[in-house]
């Protein structure tokens, strides 16, 4: 079943290389996303069996990530219907890369072997790189280049981390997760520590944790909205899954203190850095990229704080994905309408495209954690974890950074939403399917904010138990 899930998008990606029409490609993509979504939904009822000698396992952690990925692809596919109505360019490369990404991200979610995990994460980097350069202009190429280079270096460090882990687990003789967990008492702690540092820095690059975040504003600023969603919502969280896997090992090996102290520092840096940069920012997408860095910071902060924080972090994974999908899809729809997403070029959206304007405001509120959106709860959980674990300075600093971040994003978004309207350069109508895709995420996010399903809570609790934080 899992193999099928991984292969399905991959095979259809190969199919696109045949000479088929644009419409067919679109339909195929939608079909694949829906199938993927359906299968993942089935997994919620019945977890699939282990495959490939325990290399592929779907545990609650993986299921959460897999559902996020699947949902994001679903909403992107709906969005795409509208997007390509107005887009003269071919969708072939985009779709191929997206499908391959879907395949590899599924692999990330289900791989239970650290080597396989590495391979699949590296593969996601490679398939996402061409997506950034979709617009084929100088800036987007530059952004792609930076993304590729930084992430490759990060991934290389991650590879070293994997090797160090292998050395540490010399006695276990395998990198399969359950085996390592079982033999955690025999792990060599020094090598473990080295490996943890390399893991955090390496996968942190991919996640965009400060100070290795620098590719993010460029890449997200250049990518189309859909790609932004996949990258900010799914790709970064795939790397977070890698960190969670390490956390499992660390907690078992009694290195929680060591691990969490680094994560807390990383998290704080990731809250601080975007706060420093955001106030001077002009472009919506870049602002959202900073917001993404901030959210990654929150995630690792929650992981570092453990207990309630961990629950919050896992919940925030879901919320962040939904919020990012709202944010970047809206930004993408604006960018398509105006040919720009800069605050000084776009004004008064709400008067010309009322729905898009409202959605943009919703995106902003969701991204900054306002109440009816579920991000509010997860942020609170993480802050609460900071306070209950007596990290008062942390909570205070975090709150200041979040506040500055809010100001920065508000400045840009409200500048775009309100004001005397400027006619769009490429006069286009609101598109139902684009808006529907965004609305779906908004509704889900609000729904989660107002009522958390019992099943989800159980699943997250299972995942927390799995990580075994104290």
């Amino acid at each position: 079943m899992l193999t099928l899930l991984i292969l399905l998008p991959f095979i259809s990606a190969l199919g696109i290389f045949l000479p088929v029409s644009k419409k067919f490609i679109l339909k195929l993509f939608i079909a694949v996303s829906f199938c993927h979504g359906l299968i993942v939904a089935l997994f919620w009822m019945q977890r699939p069996p282990v495959e490939f000698n325990g290399f592929l396992v779907l545990d609650p952690l993986g299921l959460i990530l897999l559902s996020i990925v699947s949902f994001l692809f679903l909403s992107v596919s709906v969005f795409m219907i509208g997007y390509f109505k107005h887009e003269p360019r071919s969708n072939r490369l985009l779709t191929v890369c997206l499908l391959c990404l879907l395949s590899t991200m599924t692999l990330v979610a289900v791989s239970y072997h650290f080597g396989l995990l590495w391979v699949s994460i590296e593969a996601t980097t490679l398939f996402s790189a061409p997506l950034i350069s979709y617009h084929r202009n100088q800036q987007s190429l530059q952004a792609t280049w930076r993304y590729l280079l930084v992430c490759s270096v990060g991934i290389a460090l991650g590879l070293m981390g994997t090797f160090f882990l292998a050395i540490a687990a010399h006695d276990v003789h395998t990198l399969l997760l359950p085996a390592i967990l079982k033999g955690s008492s025999s792990l060599s702690l020094n090598w473990m520590k080295l490996s943890i540092i390399f893991f955090i820095v390496g996968y942190g690059c991919k996640m965009g944790l400060a100070p290795t975040h620098s590719w993010k504003p460029d890449a997200y600023g250049q990518a189309t909205g859909m790609v932004g969603v996949i990258m900010a919502g799914a790709l970064t969280q795939c790397s977070f899954l890698a960190l969670l896997r390490i956390a499992q090992v660390c907690n078992k090996a009694g290195l929680t203190e060591f691990y969490s102290s680094i994560l807390i520092v990383s998290g704080m840096l990731s809250l601080l850095v975007p706060a420093l940069f955001i106030l001077g920012e002009k472009s919506i997408k870049r602002a959202f990229a900073y917001s993404s860095i901030e959210n990654m910071g929150l995630l690792v902060l929650g992981l570092g704080l453990g207990a309630v924080g961990l629950f919050g972090a896992l919940f925030h994974m879901i919320n962040n994905a939904l919020a990012k999908s709202v944010m970047f899809l809206t930004a993408g729809s604006i960018a398509q309408k105006y040919g720009s997403s800069r605050a000084d070029e776009v004004k008064g959206i709400i008067h010309i495209y009322p729905l898009t304007g409202i959605l943009l405001v919703a995106a902003f509120l969701a991204g900054t954690g306002m109440f009816p959106f579920a991000t509010f709860h997860s942020e609170l959980l993480i802050l609460n974890a900071a306070i209950t674990s007596r990290h008062y300075c942390l909570a205070a600093g975090g709150v200041v950074c979040l506040g500055v971040m809010f100001i920065g994003v508000a400045k840009i978004v409200l500048g775009v939403v309100h004001g005397k309207p400027r006619e769009p350069l490429l006069a286009k109508k609101e598109n139902t399917s684009m808006n529907a895709a965004i609305l779906l995420a908004v509704v889900l996010l609000v729904g989660l904010g107002l009522w958390m399903p019992i099943g989800l809570e159980k699943m997250i609790n299972n995942a927390v138990k799995l990580i075994g934080a104290v």
Binding site: N190, L279, P354, M370, F371, H418, G419
Partner: protein, 606 residues
Amino acid sequence: MEKYFQSSWHVPFGEFSLKFDPLSFIFLVAVIILILCAGIYAVGYMRPYASKRPVGLHIFFYLVLSLALIVIVLANNVILFLGAWEIMSVSAFFLVVFKDEESDVRRAGFLYLIASHCGTFLLIIMFFLMASNSGSMNFDIISHAPFPPVLAGVIFLLAIFGFGVKAGFIPLHIWLPHAHPAAPSHVSAVLSGVMIKMGIYGICRVLWMIGVLPDWCGYLLLIIGVLCGVMGVLYALGQHELKRLLAYHSIENIGIVALGLGVGLLGESHRMPFLAVLGFGGALLHVFNHAIFKGLLFLAAGAVIQKTHTGEMDRMGGMAKVMPLVSILFLIGALAICGLPLFNGFISEFIIYFGLFQGIFHLPLQGTFVCALGIIALALMGTLALACFSKVYGTVFLGEPRVPKGSQLGERISLWMCIPMIVLAGFCLWIGLFPRTAAGIAFLGGAFLSHADLLELPMDNIFSPLTCMIGGVVLFLALVLILTYLRVLFLKALPASVSETWRCGFSYVTPRMQYTSSSFARLILDFFKRILFYKRTFPQVKGFFPQSASMSSSVSDFFEEFLFKPVFGKLTNLSRKLDISRIRYTQMYLMYIFLYLIILLVWKLK
């Protein structure tokens, strides 16, 4: 008196727990009255916009705001409270930016949103500190846990800052004078009447939960009250725009409330339940009163503005003849806000004065001193408010119109707009003349807040003077009637003629030569110019036949101009600089990774 409504609400730490107690009752009544009145008013007020703007959306947010306000005062759970709090902030933001093409309005909305959100962050920390002390997110359980004094102090400070942003404590008030004039008038009424009171409600709720605080907290609140009150009214005096002036007056009134709360706190920390009840009760009553009369004033101001299409007081005049009913209603509001007898402001200010004097008699030396300061400040506030509102009433409603008559014919003021104002004015008069009920409820709230038993306190010590006071006021009314009768008698025999105002011999006089609001306020502002940064600019008039010249005066808000603007500007500049110098070479990106790796290795593996 306490009633609960419990229901499950499945979000992390959440529970849908509502609690009804005397404290929430007072705020709830204020909220409901004002929301209903402003809502009915809006029907008339929004009519001219109906075809031009998304009024439906506006109404939606108005309803959301109403709901949020109600939930806030009833919430018994931290998450529920914070959620409703955020909803309130956001929906109020949308109400404020109704006319978003105007850059002032946008700025106001932005300022408001960031101010309230940043305040919320402090609240989050505060509530979590409380929750971690007691291990629950339920207000009741939190209130049962004892608080160590240091923690209590920290929580108190966080509450002052977090809720102070919403309440408009100086220097956190800067959003307030922008947001209120920017919003449509019924929204301003709700914002000023009840929304900023939610800050006060929050502080009260926290005080209730913590129980006894160290006495410096009381002094702090008193000082804040003095600062807010005096500065608020002085800034108000320097304004030329009607609604902005009213907005600054909200700050003043919040200051008065803070004075009351400070007295209450002192009473609590010095174990004087009567003093505590007086202070808290006075503050709560003033909260309610301010909601009523400020709502009335904003609604009346809205009617005037709709008629004249301007908020500039120096372009108005003689409105009493154009809209007699509104002028009387405004006068009632003005008298009430100045704390003059007959109306409700007088009652609450009297109770707070009374509390301050009790404080003088019974508190230790520093308490006496601070209370005396409070009394003097309250007296000063009272007269300054009097000066301010006589200026407003005189320039807007009396005298001659300062602009040609034709320009004052805006929309007709419909019945929808008048009835709510009349109702509010009725409340002013009711509490002003029959204060026993309202004061009794307020004292109930005060007793609840100070965990005291009302029955054991000598409440007659305050009720009997109150009754005598009303007796005096009634006597005054009787005197007025008698004298009116006398005057009629005198005048019956004598002819009265109508003519021009006597101008001491000047013949060519235009309405523009009247004293304007700016010239009226000049003496006072000049006196306080050092703290108000009062500036007047006028060109030198030269030659025998000088060209037309103009003069302008302005008061700059110290905290906005010299505190927040520079800091924010510096931060933005820093951010821009960082962004420009954002290293263009990809190598540097790699360098960061490298350095970070090295630092981690050195730090962790040393």
